[in-house]
Amino acid sequence: MPSDDYQEWDTLREKIIGLGEHSIQKSYYPKLQEQLKELERFKTLLDHSNDAIFLIEVVSGKLMDLNQSAYNQLNYEYSDIIKRSIWDLIISKDHSEFKKIFTISNRAQDESKWTLETQFLKKDGSVIPMEVSLSLVIFSGEKYSVMVARDIKERLIAKEALKKSEDYYRAIFENSSAGMIILEKDTTISLANSEVESITNYPRREIEGRKTIKYFLSPDNLEDITGIHKTPVGESVKEEYETDIIDRYGNKKHVFITLAPIPRTDKHLASILDITDRKKAEEKIKNSLKEKEVLLQEIHHRVKNNLQIISSLLNLQTSNIRDPLDLEIFQESQDRIKSMALIHEQLYRSRDLASINFAIYIQQIMSHLFYSYTFKDKNIKLKLELEDINLEIDTAIPCGLIINEVVSNCLKHAFKGKNSGEIKIVFKEEKGLHHLTISDNGIGFPLKKMEKSTSLGLKLVQMLVDQIEGELEIDSKMEVNNSGTSFYIKFQELQYKKRI
């Protein structure tokens, strides 16, 4: 407003004359142009929308306006489609739905919107599935409908694919031979398959959303399972539990539960395998096995006893034998029986009834032989280098007899004329082969003589080595300062012959 400043008064006077910025002209044209431009911009915006937008005069059903996207999608030229009836563009079976909405509301202020799925007809008669959002407006007293339609072909395909996938996984879930459940964060069972019904004897509708997994767990096992659902979300750690559950009628069922988190959710998938029957069968087998073990133990025991009896019978008969040679034959037989009996004895004491620790066996049989062949005037030492090797009965009995024969023979003959000596037994395993060496530092003997020998002992050794498919090497030296004999047997444990 005016002040004392002359300059300012002059400026103001200019404006009063009408030379001010706003007053340079009075015309609606610039404003009109600006608004037209704005409309043009808005139209461009609408035309470039992916959605098809239609303005329909409700009474006549005529298309009063539409955007470029609308006529492009329907394959029309603008001039061909404008003023057409909307009923030419929508498949006829849906007309009634639209007409229902068109007649619903006559109120101008009504801001309701309706959404429908329909199919639009293109110029060539083909269809496009579209989702249409409808609203009613009133311009200058005329009722119009604004329809915004969106092509949902892709969406329907995706939906179909999703449904297929859903069906697929539902079929897997539903038809699994294991009970399948989905557990919510709070362990509520939100989904269960039919197998769960047969395990728990509850119908699904009484389980889903109504019961937690803990409801079914046997109180004895509850403690084990409290951690069942503590796996942090996102960690795909699979957990397995063997536990008991109680069904509707109080029956305890033994189940194997596998619990895995479902990725990107706080839910878990649990599969429940009813292993009650399997468990029972297992139990039965175990029991039956136990019975058989006892039986086998008993048999070994009896065999050992019977061998003992035979040995005792032989011993009784020796009282009638005068000839020292005969006596020796009896003695040898007794030793052989003993060596076998010892194996059976050790077998029934062993855990598995099939194999024995051969190192222990060697010690026992040595102790017996050294006792049998006691020499008052000789000092024979025994040196053992034994690895802990188990042998099964098929190999152990021939091996036992071999050692018995070789050591007995050694005790009888190797130290004639000597006051002392040493017997060394080495039993070891190397590269899957057993190596048994029995050596002495006795007087030795001529190998040629041995080949011609008819004594049962050596024949037996050769026979037994053949039986275990081994290789025998005998070496004997008769030199003054270097004498002695060694038996070296290399063999492989025989494959256990199945008896059943």
């Binding site: 407003m1 006077r13 030379l19 007053s23």
Partner: protein, 386 residues
């Protein structure tokens, strides 16, 4: 102060002058793409046949309309805002003002508020209106304010108690339908007041330092027409011949002051009008000769031309005597027209002079006064008119 090398502009609406002009409102409204018209008028006009005629011509054109008439003799800011509310809510798109200065100023206000969506007081001053109003047709029913052709709107700021002037070429109406017939209903007093209003417009426009050759032509002719017809009209209110001359004088006064603007009389009268709800014509009339007395020395030759236009014989008089003869002529005219009152009689108090003067200095009309007054000068003029 007319300097030929200054830029001068002349803006006038399309106007139709003559008997029956008022009846063209329907066709003009239709031409301006009206759908629904807001008729802005005052309670006085509500009872007159000219409103019925207007409604008739609108109906004839198939146009809907709404009437807004809650307007006091000096249009107030809230009346403008309420009118604008009606304009928007009734979805009108054209305004017809029917009445005197008050409904026309209010209609201009409603127009710019509707298009700019701003409070009316925001447009106070010169060239403060960004967008023109919706189409506006004015049918004046008084021969004085000339709001129908002018770029002025005077609105009362009801809180600050001051009349604000909104001056913008965007406020010049689109069409003025100037029909002397409409002025026949004015009584003696109103005829006198509006007549003096028009006379002061011409006086101030003529001596304005923004005047131009074109405005001068209209101003002088207006002074000639009004000064010779005001008294005969008052004594013969139904004389259409006289009414036509007065209407023509008012139109020319409007064309002149709308383009050359006004001066100190209006600045001081606006200030007074804010304080006391006075008739604009009356306050102008009271101050008239006192401001002329103050201004005379600045543009004596202009005042002498005015005196000649008023038919005062000044042959053989000194400049001082010429001035006195002009002032006396005016005093006499006022007396005979019955508008010779004083500020004191109207209830103005001497202690108001200072604030009145300061407000007058703030009025944009003062910018074009030929002599630049100080606050003390103005106080002295108020004192003289006391």
């Amino acid at each position: 102060m007319v300097q030929e090398n200054y830029l001068r502009k002349f803006v006038a609406p399309e106007f139709i002058y003559g008997s029956g002009a008022r009846l063209l409102a329907g066709r003009y409204a239709k031409n301006l793409a009206a759908k629904k018209v807001l008729i802005v008028t005052d309670p006085e006009v509500m009872n007159l046949n000219i409103l019925v005629e207007l409604e008739g011509v609108l109906i004839e054109q198939g146009l809907e309309y709404e009437i807004y008439s809650s307007i006091s003799p000096n249009s107030r800011d809230e009346e403008v805002m309420n009118g604008s509310e009606v304009f928007n809510s009734e979805e009108c798109n054209l305004i017809i003002a029917l009445g005197g200065g008050s409904p026309m100023d209010c209609a201009k206000g409603i127009g710019i508020v509707s298009s700019n969506r701003n409070h009316i007081l925001e447009f106070e001053g010169v060239d403060q209106v960004p967008l023109p109003s919706p189409p506006l047709i004015c049918i004046p029913t008084t021969a004085g304010t000339s709001a129908d052709v002018s770029q002025f709107a005077i609105i009362l700021d009801s809180i600050k108690k001051v009349k604000i002037a909104i001056i913008s070429k965007t406020m010049v109406p689109d069409v003025a339908l100037i029909d002397p017939f409409t002025t026949l209903t004015m009584d003696k007093t109103l005829t006198a007041h509006t007549g003096f209003d028009a006379l002061v417009h011409s006086f101030e426009a003529y001596v304005s330092n923004a005047s131009s050759h074109i405005t001068n032509l209209h101003a002088l002719d207006s002074i000639r027409l009004i000064s010779s017809h005001i008294l005969p009209t008052i004594t013969d209110l139904q004389n259409q011949q006289f009414r036509s001359k007065m209407m023509l004088g008012s139109l020319e006064a409007g064309l002149a002051f709308s383009n050359a603007s006004l001066g100190l009389i209006h600045a001081m009268a606006h200030s007074l009008g804010g304080l006391l709800d006075l008739s604009h014509g009356k306050s102008n009339a009271i101050l008239m000769e006192h401001v002329i007395d103050y201004n005379f020395s600045e543009v004596p030759e202009k005042y002498l031309k005015i005196a000649r236009a008023m038919g005062i014989d000044q042959n053989g008089l000194s400049l001082g005597e010429k001035k006195d003869s002009l002032l006396n002529f005016i005093k006499n005219l006022k007396k005979e027209a019955g508008v010779d009152t004083s500020l004191k009689k109207l209830g103005v108090r001497e202690e108001d002079f200072q604030s009145l003067a300061l407000k007058a200095l703030q009025d944009p009309c003062i910018v074009t006064n030929p002599r630049r007054p100080s606050a003390e000068d103005i106080e002295e003029i108020y004192q003289n008119a006391f």
